[in-house]
């Protein structure tokens, strides 16, 4: 699709992945400006409904990020995220939404480069897939 600019929603936890995004910025790493970061205190706060809502509101892809397993500031928040993600990704498969549109990644505060690369990869993938079928049509 020509001229398609994907919208990506990224959920970042306050302690690791948001700091990782900060690191990418401070280190002047280049990554596509297609993402909208939503900061949450912990990745365990990300209800799978938030992800579904993002798709309904017009996101073409959603990134769920948190601290590495074992590093969660709230002890087990990211274990919960992992359980939910497993269920949610199966739901996306069954619904027929391409599973490349949803991605779970653990990013620590020092991994600015990983964050930048992840955004780059996701934007490329979503560009290939085209707009999300659940996107609202604006005339």
């Amino acid at each position: 699709m020509k001229g398609f600019v994907p919208k990506i929603v990224a959920f970042c936890c306050n302690w690791c992945s948001y700091a990782g995004a900060d690191m990418a910025g401070v280190s002047r790493m280049q990554y596509p400006p297609n993402i909208r970061i939503i900061k949450v205190m912990c990745s365990g706060r990300i209800d799978p409904i938030f992800v579904l809502m993002s798709f309904m509101e017009g996101a073409d892809g959603v990134l769920v990020t948190g601290c590495h397993i074992g590093d969660c500031h709230y002890i087990n928040g990211n274990y919960k995220t992992q359980n939910r993600f497993e269920v949610l990704s199966e739901m996306m498969n069954e619904l027929g939404l391409e599973k490349e549109r949803l991605r779970l990644e653990w990013i620590s505060a020092t991994e600015g480069e990983k964050f930048a690369n992840m955004v780059k990869e996701t934007v490329e993938q979503v560009k290939k897939l085209g707009p999300s079928p659940l996107k609202p049509v604006i005339e």
Binding site: K80, N83, R84, V87, E90
Partner: protein, 390 residues
């Protein structure tokens, strides 16, 4: 769950009237009445009969009312799990889906299983009352209001009126689009091994009017012993042949369920990913958002306002209903496939089939079958593991 004691009996009610009314010897009604009479339980939850097409869940402490409810109601579709009030000790006759519903509710702290005595009933399926009325009118050529009783025997559905009786094979009815509900056709859990006592007429010799009873837990043994001691029930040990026959029927029903599953799911199975999304969007497009499916759903512990109703925006629903999305998500680890949502849906959306498609993925992936034991649902389970840092 307690460990299975695995003792099998043939049992029947001592009282002749109950034996006559019950579909296979009246054991279940007699045992429930005995439990109430001798104070093992304080309440019994039964279906009060209003003709053959209607039964209302009734909580009673009167043994007479329990005995009055004797006999199967194949033409009602009701799940008792939502009516179990476990503040006091309560007993109920439970089809596999009733029992599974109660267990899923127990996992969500809605039911205290210590207080619940489940007398399980073998179940090969029930019929939707509205469709059953139509069937009686069109296939049997009888007046639905004149039906006195119904009976399922040897694969035939027998309808009795004052003018005589008529029997037609259930296979034949199902070929013509009537018969059991879709959810029952592909349900493969027929013997309720998760309850305290598993009762049914499978394995009973044809010339006998008795119930085959398998004692599964200590609570089940308590009920069974009490019924025999109180003189409500007579019993004899089941022969090996009976046990074998029951097992054979169960296997045959499982096979049939599997075939129906293939047949009914085939239209969606062959769709590609994008076609499937379109199918779901079209299916949910007729949803009116009435919330009836949520109200009757046994595993759903929510009240009036819940995430599914609160995130629903009618103005956005032309793409896909958030209400249904949230319900799909929440039921992915707990849908028992009882078929109630499909029964009550005023827009006739094949909800149970859709839910089963989503649930079966998780069941396969995580090896979790809801409502069989007290294993935690995957969405509740958070474990802490030692992580080796490199």
């Amino acid at each position: 769950m307690n460990k299975s004691t695995g003792k099998c009996y043939l049992a029947w009610a001592t009282d002749e009237k109950t034996r006559e009314r019950g579909s296979s010897g009246g054991f279940v009604s007699a045992a429930l009445a005995a439990a109430l009479d001798k104070g093992i339980v304080e309440r019994v939850l039964v279906l009060k009969k209003h003709g053959v097409f209607k039964g209302t869940p009734t909580v009673t402490s009167d043994p007479k009312e329990v005995l009055d409810s004797a006999g199967a109601l194949h033409m009602t579709a009701i799940n008792l799990a939502k009516y179990v009030d476990s503040d006091v000790r309560i007993a109920l006759p439970a089809k596999p889906c009733d029992a599974r519903g109660a267990i899923e509710r127990a996992k969500r702290n809605q039911v205290n299983l210590d207080n619940v005595y489940m007398v399980g009933l073998n179940c090969a399926g029930t019929m939707h009352p509205v469709k059953a009325r139509k069937m009686v009118k069109e296939i049997y050529n009888l007046d639905p209001d004149a039906v006195l009783s119904e009976e399922v025997s040897k694969g035939k559905l027998i309808i009795k009126t004052s003018e005589g009786e008529k029997s037609i094979k259930i296979d034949e009815l199902e070929r013509q689009g009537y018969g059991r509900r879709d959810a029952c056709k592909y349900c493969s859990i027929n013997i309720p091994k998760m309850t305290d006592l598993a009762c049914g007429n499978w394995g009973v010799p044809h010339d006998r009017k008795a119930t085959f009873v398998e004692v599964l837990t200590e609570k089940g043994e308590e009920i069974f012993k009490n019924a025999v001691d109180a003189g409500y029930v007579e019993c004899e040990p089941a022969s090996d042949k009976s046990i074998e026959t029951r097992e054979k029927i169960d296997q045959a029903m499982k096979k049939l369920a599997h075939e129906w599953h293939e047949k009914l799911f085939e239209p969606i199975n062959k769709l590609s990913d994008s076609e499937r999304l379109e199918y779901y969007i079209n299916a949910f497009a007729s949803c009116t958002g009435c919330g009836a499916c949520k109200k009757v759903c046994p595993p759903c512990p929510c009240g009036e306002d819940a995430k599914c109703t609160m995130t629903e925006f009618q103005s956005e629903a032309h793409r896909i209903h958030m209400f249904n999305m949230v319900r799909l998500l929440h039921l992915m680890d707990s849908c028992i496939g009882c078929g109630r949502c499909e029964d009550v849906c005023p827009a006739s959306i094949p909800l149970t089939m859709i839910h089963m498609r989503f649930t079966e993925r998780i069941q396969k992936k995580l090896d979790h079958i809801p409502g069989i034991d007290m294993k935690k649902p995957p969405l509740f389970e958070t474990e802490l593991r030692e992580v080796q840092n490199d």
